[in-house]
Amino acid sequence: MDVMVHVHLHGDPLDVVVIGCGAGGSVVAKELGEAGLSVIVLDAGRRFNPERDYRSDRPDFPVGAWQVFEPEDPRRDLYTAGPQGFRYIRVKGIGGTTVVSWGVSPRLHESDFRVRSADGVADDWPITYGELEPFYTQVEYELGISGSDGDERNPFDAPRSKPFPTPPHPMTRAGEIIARGARKLGLHPFVPALAIPTKSWGGRPACVEAGVCGYGCRISAKSSADVTYVRKAEATGKVTILESCVAREITIDSSNRVRSVVFFDGEGREHEVRARAVVLAANAIETPRLLLLSISRLYPKGLANSSGLVGKYLTEHLDAGARARFALPLKNWQGVPVSAMIQDHYETRKANPFARGWLLEVATANTWPIAVAKRVGGWGIAHKVRVKELFGHVVEVYAQGEQLPDIRNQVSLDRTTKDHFGLPVPHIVSEPRGNDLKMLPAMMDSIRELLEASGAAEILDSWSHQPGASIHYMGTCRMGNDPRYSVTDRWGRTHDVPNLFIADSSVFVTGGAAHPTLTLMALAARTAAFMIECFRRREL
């Protein structure tokens, strides 16, 4: 490395170093800490203080509300992209992107785990839905997930061992109007599972339907990782979280085991911390980047990369949407950002010229006066009249489709562009390919059909898949039983290095069409349980 400021060797090895304190890393830290293991968690970003940093009590909050999530040095988040570009949206910091997510937390379907067997495309996961189900439930109860049971439940939901911890949110007026249109078409709308409890949960207040989840929840009602798993992890007294620390290399010893993690602290000083095991949970872009940066004699192509698949099969969600105006006043700034979902199109249909499917969701985000005025654009009387016409009357319908993994979609290192510490930045290539390109028009048709059935007065605009915009990045260190075709085993342990684990959405084999956060957290909980067992057996 050409950057070597100062090296400090910490003393006795810790039990575990976790890299990344978002959805996956926080789950692992909490579970390991509660099992009595000593853990250090490194995160490249800062810690957020909801009351101080999320300014949604100010009259002009949409102006500059996102700035708190921006890095001090913009070079920290540099990346380059392939020919179609890539909009890389993430938050680096304690809690990761969960602090700005809308909290939509569905489970994958049973069929998502056996896509090859059922539909002859992509690959099967090495685990089944049934194996993951207890961990789904475990995470749902930590987060106080709200959702519909009984007659109001999602008829396509996979079997559940327990009901949702908290009742569903009330459907917003926008949700109701679209739901009515959906029923006319024979579809089955429901209030989706949200990581936003509807009653006090874990010492946090119930949601007050403020609708600004995307700028961070000022009262910590939303169950982002920083106010749930991170709090519990730190309460164990066994977990230390180091903010603004950027890992630059994972080193191994001569016996092919991880020895240490080398990282920069916030001042740019370099440190090395040794551990009995390392867990990578930096997201599906940064995790493969760090492995590719960790080159050694044993692993000249990158750590744990004997298969050559680290960074390959980057998968996201196909994304299409439309914004429509309704004549009825909707008060669309009130209530959760996503209050209705439809999964009738989720599974493969023989009549379709493509495999797999999508879900539809009704969203009412960015509906505040300033946001509407800026989106309308222009000035003068005409602008004012249009703002008045649109304010409180607009609904967005999104379709989120399953993108099939393709080896050409990948994360590699761009050695010509460096970040603020002189490290090569990720180069991201993601494009919709054959099956995806056939599915996208059908997704858009379903949106238009739904808006028309719901009585939309005017479709304002529509869009179809911009790479990266889904924010759901998966699959770059896929799990599998065969080390030739996968990076980790069924527990998230790398095939090559027995004390190196991955606990984020990198391990997904396919992405389904459902939002990935709950699944990646369930997988992280499962990996943590396996690690605890390994520590008990003294294998780590």
Partner: protein
């Protein structure tokens, strides 16, 4: 005496004639386009009631009185008051912007420079400053800035529009020195919208409840006594 010219006399004559025609065509093209900018000039008098303007002069120590007056006129052009509803004046937008400049020296300088440049532009086009413009002239001036900005920086459509954008750029920015004025126009437009639509005046007009926190929008529990005989 003999001069060894690299053009013949005939070629030089041709070049001069074509250049002359070229300049004429370009000029007429730009003038024509500029006339089109004055879209639907509003000559209607303001019908909205008395303003709070008079009560809000104490806070503007950051800008001079003249600068504040210019800012008020421009802000009212961006969001005019009319029968549809209140405008920037009713929401005291100019005064709120002036207040916000107190803590942002860089922006304050940008405002002072930008307001002066727009005032100069008004004088060069109409013979007097912004505060003395009629409503239709103000509308014309703002339309001119907006159209120029959009043509040069935002439109990426047909070849013709791109060529027009380039021509405008060379004529108005490189030659005419309007670059910083257009940059300021964008800033001004954005700030006026932000301050107006974050004001209770605009909220009342739109029917908006106000910021999400601290209370949120959850309906309070029912207080119907007939349901609770105890």
């Amino acid at each position: 005496m003999h001069f060894d010219f690299w053009l013949t006399r005939r070629q030089a004559l041709k070049f001069t004639i074509w250049s002359f025609w070229g300049v004429l065509v370009l000029k007429s093209f730009l003038v024509k386009a500029e006339k089109k900018l004055s879209l639907e000039p509003s000559k209607k008098p303001e019908i909205w009631g008395p303003t709070t303007q008079g009560n809000l002069t104490a806070v503007n120590s950051v800008l001079t009185d003249m600068e504040v007056s210019t800012l008020r006129v421009l802000a009212d052009g961006i969001i005019p008051s009319n029968k549809e509803g209140p405008g920037a004046t009713q929401a005291a937008v100019a005064d709120r912007i002036a207040e916000s400049l107190a803590h942002n020296p860089a922006l304050r300088v940008a405002y002072q420079t930008g307001l002066s440049e727009i005032d100069q532009l008004a004088r060069s086009r109409y013979g007097f400053g912004v505060t003395s413009l009629r409503i239709d002239q103000r509308h014309q001036l703002l339309s001119f800035l907006d159209e120029l900005h959009r043509t040069m920086f935002l439109e990426t459509g047909s070849l013709v529009s791109r060529i027009r954008g380039k021509a405008y750029y060379w004529y108005y920015v490189k030659w005419g020195g309007l670059g910083s004025t257009l940059e300021f126009w964008r800033q001004l437009q954005s700030d006026v919208l932000a301050h107006f639509y974050s004001s209770p005046v605009a909220w009342a007009w739109l029917g908006y409840d106000g910021p999400p926190f601290p209370l949120g929008y959850l309906k309070p529990p029912s207080c119907n006594l007939s349901e609770n005989p105890a």
